[in-house]
Amino acid sequence: MVQANELGERFLQHLEKLDRNAADEMISACLREGYDPEVLLKDVIIPSIDVIANKQQNREVVVAQIYVMAKIAENEINKVLIEMPIKPRTKGTIILGTPMGDYHGLGKKLVATFLRLADYEVMDLGLSVNHFDFVNMAIAFNAQVICVSALLLHTALGITQIRKELDARGYDHIKLVVGGALFNFNPALKDKYGADAMAPNALDAVRVIKELTGGD
């Protein structure tokens, strides 16, 4: 059987060529041949996405590529997940959304996918979410973290309102994580808006949340 690292390289090449058929054929063939789906996921697909995420940070790929790559990766992740036993999501609950007035949520879906893969329960509240809704849902579902993705400067002030609302209601233990183009433009805004952490991309969001929640 082909080694995982060799498969990983091949999968990465398919992603980089935006070749969804080749990626699909490769993962389907691996599953048919009895490859362990968990190994496929953790040692083939996710490391490839990690490489792309780094390229994104270094501005080596454009949004058109990221968009298609994310679609290909999500399709293959879902295909592999079907073959895996259903596990309870034990790490805790994350609330996710964009602030009121911000309808830019391209990266948000990928964050949700990766968090679910990391065994978090994710409640995606969608686009343009009122700060009360973020807080009410976090309290109602005993969430550990609220994740807010933002593109626009002035609507991101909704993040400050989330922080204030959490503090005013005595839920300051709920962590606030921010991400999106705005914070990549100016990381200092994280502190200005009272966030606990900033994640520059979807994979880092998982790492940051694990650190904040003491997960492994």
Binding site: R59, V62, V63, A64, Q65, Y67, V68, K71, G101, D102, Y103, H104, G105, L106, L152, L153, H154, T155, L157, L182, F185, N186, A188, L189
Partner: protein, 347 residues
């Protein structure tokens, strides 16, 4: 001393005048000067014109702009705007949610939309006050980017990159409708008195598209659009354009607004004598930078791009945020005057 319009014309003809033109894009700060809300300001042509007048008297920069924000273009598509106390309005929703709805999408003539009429009124008033001395700019959304605003960015990306059959079926209709609106709206602004218009094209920048995609989809559209506009056009990437620098002279634009990631010296070399470069100070960071830091940043851009004309100092697109303090705007303009002087100019 030359007028701001003469200064701009000199640089557009790739000559050195007394100094570079300086254009901090302040769409919202006029409301502060007048002590009114942004909603009131954005929907009142007289206030827009008065706000721009007070700003140029205060900072003594080199241009005025009659448009409150290009997002207002979507009012003609039947969309609503949600106003904020400290920033640009955002769309309250999309005009359509399914691709086939493009066939029945009704777009109003801008003169039938009260807010857009106020924009034309602002331009007329600015023309009355400044025509022939200070350049008056209009602005709108470029046709490749308009669909992302009336059907949503994700649906537009999906159509472009993920649905070849649907793309084949619908893309021409999306782009033609957008181009016709953009051309009509820009020509109305020019008729009202704008000396030039800026078309903002966030979805076509090198941040979004690969070079071959830009060449295949965006470039032909931009070229036709610009050729149909009855005045000079400034092309704004609202994202990086540096990777396409060698292609930009073909667009027909007199100037291009560059992003903070673009290498100004490199772009200037590629465009020297052909297209004026505009930019590229980080507009978001202007909120937190000290005046000293702003001077350093302005000096670096001027050193990279001022030689031989063909350069306007501005922020990267779209505009200077509402919360940027006055002292930082002043630092931006003063640094431009200091470091943008040309050798031999009489000070």
């Amino acid at each position: 001393m030359p007028t701001p319009l003469e200064r701009l014309m000199t640089t557009l003809s790739h000559q050195e005048g007394d100094r570079i033109p300086i254009f901090p894009v302040m769409l919202q700060h006029g409301a502060k000067e007048l002590g009114v809300s942004l909603e009131e300001y954005f929907t009142n042509g007289e206030m827009l014109a008065e706000g721009q007048t007070r700003l140029i008297e205060k900072y003594e920069h080199d241009a005025v702009i009659g448009v409150p924000h290009v997002v207002e273009d979507l009012l003609a598509f039947g969309q609503k705007l949600v106003y904020f106390p400290n920033g640009a309005p955002v769309l309250g929703g999309m005009a359509i949610s399914r691709y086939h709805q493009i066939d029945s999408l009704e777009v109003k003539d801008p003169t039938e939309v009260p807010e857009l009429r106020e924009t034309l009124r602002a331009i007329e008033l600015l023309a009355k006050r400044f025509k022939g001395t200070v350049p008056i700019f209009g602005a709108g959304i470029a046709p490749f980017s308009l669909p992302s605003m009336f059907i949503g960015t994700e649906k537009w990306l999906q159509l472009l990159f993920d649905e070849p059959d649907l793309r084949e079926q619908y893309i021409t209709r999306f782009l033609e409708l957008s181009m016709d609106f953009c051309v009509n709206w820009m020509n109305l602004q020019i008729e009202a008195g704008a000396d030039a218009v800026v078309i903002a094209d966030g979805m076509a920048s090198a941040t979004i598209l690969l070079r071959e995609q830009f060449q295949a989809w965006a470039m032909p559209l931009i070229k036709i659009t610009i050729s149909r506009i009855n005045g000079p056009v400034v092309y704004e990437g609202v994202g990086s354009l540096g990777q396409f620098a060698d292609l930009l002279p073909e667009l027909g634009a007199v100037a291009v607004i560059l992003d903070r990631h673009d290498d100004m010296a490199q772009c200037k070399r590629a465009l020297q004598g052909k297209v004026t470069v505009v930019g590229n100070i980080n507009n978001i960071a202007l909120i937190d930078w000290t005046p000293e830091r702003i001077e350093q940043e302005v000096k670096a851009v001027c050193d990279a791009a001022k030689h031989g004309g063909g350069f306007v100092l501005a922020n990267q697109g779209p505009e200077i945020p509402y919360d940027v303090p006055d002292e930082n705007i002043r630092a931006f303009v003063e640094a431009g005057k200091k470091w943008g002087r040309h050798n031999g100019a009489v000070v």
